[in-house]
Subunit: 383 residues, 2 copies
Amino acid sequence: MSRPLVVDVHTHVYPPSYMAMLRARKTVPYIHDPASGEPRLIILSSDDDPSIPIDERGRPVDTSYSDINVKLTFMQQHGIDCSVISLANPWLDFLEPAEAQQWAERINNDLEETCAKNNKSTDPDSALPLQGRSTLFAFATLPLSAPSVDIIVNEIKRLKTLPHIRGVIMGTSGLGNGLDDEQLGPVWAALEETQFLLFLHPHYGLPDEAFGGAEVTKRYGHVLPLALGFPLETTIAVTRMLLSRVFDKFPRLQILLAHSGGTLPFLAGRIESCIMHERKFVENGGDVPGPQRSIWEILKTNIFLDAVVYGTAGLKAAVAAGGGTDRLMFGTDHPFFPPLNEGEKEWISVTTNYKAIDATFEGEQDAVAAVLGGNAARILKLE
Amino acid sequence: MSRPLVVDVHTHVYPPSYMAMLRARKTVPYIHDPASGEPRLIILSSDDDPSIPIDERGRPVDTSYSDINVKLTFMQQHGIDCSVISLANPWLDFLEPAEAQQWAERINNDLEETCAKNNKSTDPDSALPLQGRSTLFAFATLPLSAPSVDIIVNEIKRLKTLPHIRGVIMGTSGLGNGLDDEQLGPVWAALEETQFLLFLHPHYGLPDEAFGGAEVTKRYGHVLPLALGFPLETTIAVTRMLLSRVFDKFPRLQILLAHSGGTLPFLAGRIESCIMHERKFVENGGDVPGPQRSIWEILKTNIFLDAVVYGTAGLKAAVAAGGGTDRLMFGTDHPFFPPLNEGEKEWISVTTNYKAIDATFEGEQDAVAAVLGGNAARILKLE
């Protein structure tokens, strides 16, 4: 059997325009250029620690974030035919209201142009199949801090005119009050109407107190916030959407959850059980309406998962929760989790996910092909 | 095939002595007896809300917590042959140092006596097989706030003289600073030496801020703290043990994780990947030693999971992470999650877990029998 198509749905960029914006800032998030060495990205308020010399604060941000050629080389080295690139966190969450619309348009136009230019160079007539050439599509970003929700809705509609945009990426803060905020209604309606996929991605993690305080959190480097805080942030966000009945009110909303749903597939049963046992909800004689549709139904109709979970245990839960293999899509999280030894070309974070897919669907070539790229090509209409 | 043995490893009690202690208290946790109706249990500081009339604060605590006959009836109604009872949270975490030893001894003696008396009544000679009669064993509680760790170690050793004690239940705070506290070394050593199973169970959840603040948390009743906070608390606690190298230093420690590990089976791959990519750890040229054994190895040698996860997605992840079906054990979480309609004798929280086990191991009778009771009988030496 021929090698299946491989599509990476979880791969981030900071376009040069975004890098320039971060360089001009002096508060988190910002980029600082030390006297020597790579620029530093100070992305979280905890990174901006005055006890650390400014030249060592945050993390190095090399060209893999902003130079699309570095990503194309990475794709070739890892057998990836097509990447659906998205702005990395924290997106535009932090912008002043007056700046939001302009920056969203600029960055989305940059993403569109990057995809168009690249795809034209590999196939001027767009007639070749995706397989075997390096093709790019993109998830756009939204001006969530804009002074009016109409500006966000208008940007979603404008994105329909950009041929390489296949959805939008969003964090968990929404307009600043989480994704159960009723003010987001018009945004959900616009996403339903355009049938853009919403790629929901963490950034804020959990408060240090959850891990036992700042001292404990720091003791283990980034492990607790990244390994546990990020997945829980996603799970909390989507559970708040469920509990506030977003999926009842907008039943055609299509969401791709980062990191195989955070922990949603594993906890879905417990969430459903807790809802059924919650006296507060009307069906049980409570005082507010609870969600009308079961979490299992929502997992099978509204939610897609990436396969960025680094093991068969997570993938098996993802498949069982989603009712099959047709809602799961390969991803890498590039340029995050590079090999620690700089000489290594093969990224173990990527090969771990490849191996987990093979091991989970042992001998089921159709399932492997679906997860690696077939699902993404169909769901995102990549052509 | 005959009906398999069913053992419930996750079932809680408040012995009458513990109830009396809570009734004598005026600060959290405490029990308040309203002028009419059932006593109220005020267990969390958030329950002790002065804006709520005292007679309505907290949750009703009926006889299912303290009357062992209610549990025996529940067991008969749900086909459970044997229960390994444990003190419910918050155990003795809150006691003044001087009180801790005395209360631990008293409660553990009460648990022992309850089991002994019951088992003698169903089989005076202890000669019958477990199946078909209602047998009790227990996980004991530890005086964790005692002024010296020796008192805790001595209680563990004393427990070996109580024939129905099969392990100890513990929360995530340890001596007050979490389970990565080096001061806990002698406790881990004593548990290794006695080969008592440590049943690790959540109580504290996550700070409200993790869910978007107290107002958001309350909006959905107990769903966010119970469905997401509890499992994450367990996951964080065991990950801190792993990162602080507890399993390297005490490789024979045997831990049973509540709620199928919280989210550990699902997140194990991500935790392992984050450790491998953490510059702080020595193997990678960092400045502190990282864990020496892989999380997958620890899941297969040190960790047991209950099957209280309410769905096939969670169970499949639990089996995949633990390398098979021989480390997973049925549980109910009784007396929590009773039916909301009081007339119902069948608890949907229990039947959901029964059905999930059947659906996960469809047709594999040996696996079903192992998870329902065979594993517990072997691991806990129930006879």
